[in-house]
Symmetry: C2
């Protein structure tokens, strides 16, 4: 490849989705390593924990009980980050009033859900089969579909998935009365990522505002489209399928890559090959293939350092309330941000320089992709049990 | 205050320095706390550690020995994140070449220094007196001054400080031959912030490019200035001195505030009251008063949870190579980003939602400032020793 020099020189790479740069220091991987060498971690959790507030049948913090659910179960977070109804606050910005310029605040309302992935306390996406992950994706799809605005350009697709994906027999969430702007589905996995309960679950935060990250991505995808007439992520998928050096895995519908602009050591992006605007655009086959892609990422992560790999992941797709043009600009993808760098206990810290100046990484995305390509076999801990 | 409702409602606040929003969830502080209650930590380190590569007289990784220095000692990082000289790389961006748009990289060169704050292995800025911190600030000032470009608008000030602040008798660094664009001074303190050596020290990374964060700040400060004819941070300092609810401490030359847009639970900003563009603008009295401000922050942090408080801190000032207008736009300030939330062991994780959607905090900056105002007494561990 013509860019081989980038394996050696310090350089910046451009993230076209966010419009920002990051510093890459490939030569720092030559640093001697004096840290711990770990032995593979076994699964030591029970498959049911009577004290877990997410296990089927158990009591939650505020007194409610979970049903004896089979696969997934969604409920409103007992301590949501946003309130559903609250006092009004209508500040005005006025060029001549310094306080109105420098002390700006705007109200945000919404609702936060918790969603379990499995009834089993000790399952992770890496332990589950793609077929077992399909119910998770079906639930995501139904929740997204049921929260779309009445005038949403994807309403036809939403009605279709709501009538074809079976309802969850263990109960479903109903959207709040006020129309919300955005839905962020994300998972924090592992104590290193601030997760306090190992029972497999994700969170879904809906808000009356479009948050910073999906907002920046929309701006940059829109700009690319108006400059070139094509989709940024559509072009990017084609490029990575040609170049191959950052490709981790693919099936008919999705690619798994370590993106060119990856910040986290083993950061991964799952991108749909065709133009999928949101979950409701996926058909049955694509939902299964998405489950396969998610399973590949989770299993390869665990195999990499033979540990229960921590990460934060999240889905970006069309907002809940948007114009035809915004939906058309959106391109379905899922980010995985894992902090581990060299082993189960050595992580990359995004601290001093990263916070004050610019994100920095050592190992290149090409080196990371090569390692993830090579650890696709059976989940390492299967043979340890 | 008219904004009292912000103590209760979920809202977004605007960071005028970076031009971005963050989510504030004050009601989440009502969450019950089941976590650990800690006992105050004592200092258990020796004042000299024969195995520490930063202690006076000791050997470093690549074989060099430290001089028997008295206060500060600076040397080139044995594993710098940027190289000083390297192969060329001159990519071209071409609208019709997709790879040139989506796989963009640019070379970055520079030099990284490590600087000790004290000869004592067990000292921290909180343990040191302002008078003991002055040599640190003097060294920062001399290093910054000696790296300015030959045509820099602050060259007069640089020449003055280089002739009035005495040279470090234990040796000084000389700048590389190639002119660099930016100098980022920062400290990572504590294992929680990726610091592997408790010997008090900071890092200084110089680069041929202007990094993202100071770049964004310059853009936003410039825009404010052209919109209003005044300085953003100048206006902000005045506002906080009037409002008082986010003020932690002040002396003649500096204010210490929890900024309106703080993301980290106990984030703090030290801002110069008058228009100081860079370290070289500070006179003797101001350097002492800056040392006092730094000491106040460090000591209050340690007193807050009676622990050796982790944080990343960093100075923003005029770039090493800049125009008259850029220097004029710059306003000297120092950020402190500490992760602790409720106690010595409970930290705020910037994970899932924060990474995928938008930074989020629970406790408000006003509540944080009130707590920091109240813990200004003697360093808690003095009476434990
Ligand atoms: O250079 P150090 O101290 O080994 O490394 C530390 O600070 C750097 C700059 O903030 C970070 O990039 C590293 O992740 C961190 O561990
Ligand atoms: O809501 P949880 O799981 O208690 O909290 C976790 O995820 C949130 C969303 O990413 C973060 O804001 C918290 O810092 C983290 O600990």
């Amino acid at each position: 490849m013509p860019d081989e020099v980038l394996n050696d020189i310090s350089h910046r790479r451009y993230n076209p989705l966010t419009g920002s740069w990051l510093l890459v220091s490939p030569h720092r991987t030559k640093r001697p390593w004096q840290g711990a060498q770990e032995t593979p971690t076994k699964n030591t959790l029970p498959s049911y924990d009577p004290k877990c507030y997410l296990c089927p049948g158990n009591k939650r913090a505020q007194g409610d009980s979970n049903p004896p659910y089979k696969n997934t179960f969604a409920f409103v977070n007992d301590y949501s980050a946003v309130k559903e109804t609250q006092q009004d606050y209508h500040p005005e910005t006025n060029k001549d009033d310094v306080a109105s310029l420098l002390l700006q605040a705007r109200p945000v309302t919404g609702r936060c859900y918790v969603l379990t992935f499995s009834a089993k306390h000790d399952a992770t996406l890496a332990d589950m089969t793609p077929e077992e992950i399909v119910p998770v994706i079906n639930t995501w799809t139904r929740i997204y579909a049921s929260h779309l605005s009445p005038s949403h350009p994807l309403n036809g697709q939403a009605a279709y998935v709501l009538s074809t994906i079976p309802e969850n027999p263990d109960g479903e969430v109903t959207p709040p009365k006020h129309q919300l702007k955005n839905m962020q589905i994300f998972e924090n996995k592992g104590a290193a990522m601030g997760c306090s309960n190992p029972h497999p679950h994700c969170q879904i935060w809906t808000t009356s505002t479009l948050p910073e990250e999906p907002g920046k991505e929309l701006v940059n995808m829109r700009k690319y489209k108006s400059d070139t007439g094509r989709h940024l992520l559509g072009d990017y998928v084609k490029l990575e399928l040609e170049k191959k050096e950052r490709l981790v895995w693919e099936n008919d519908s999705f690619v798994v890559v370590c993106p060119w602009w990856a910040l986290w050591p083993f950061e991964v992006l799952i991108i749909s090959k065709r133009h999928v605007r949101a979950l409701v655009d996926l058909d049955d086959k694509e939902r299964l293939e998405f489950a396969q892609a998610v399973q590949e990422v989770a299993r390869r992560y665990d195999n990499l350092f033979e540990t229960n790999f921590p990460y934060s992941s999240g889905i970006h797709q069309a907002p809940l309330d948007c114009t035809e043009e915004e939906a058309e600009t959106s391109w379905f993808h899922m980010h995985f941000y894992p902090p581990l760098l060299r082993s189960a206990t050595v992580k990359k810290f995004l601290v001093g320089y990263e916070l004050m100046a610019e994100p920095q990484r050592d190992i290149t995305p090409e080196q990371a992709a090569a390692k993830l390509r090579d650890c696709g076999g059976e989940l390492y801990r299967k043979s340890l049990q």
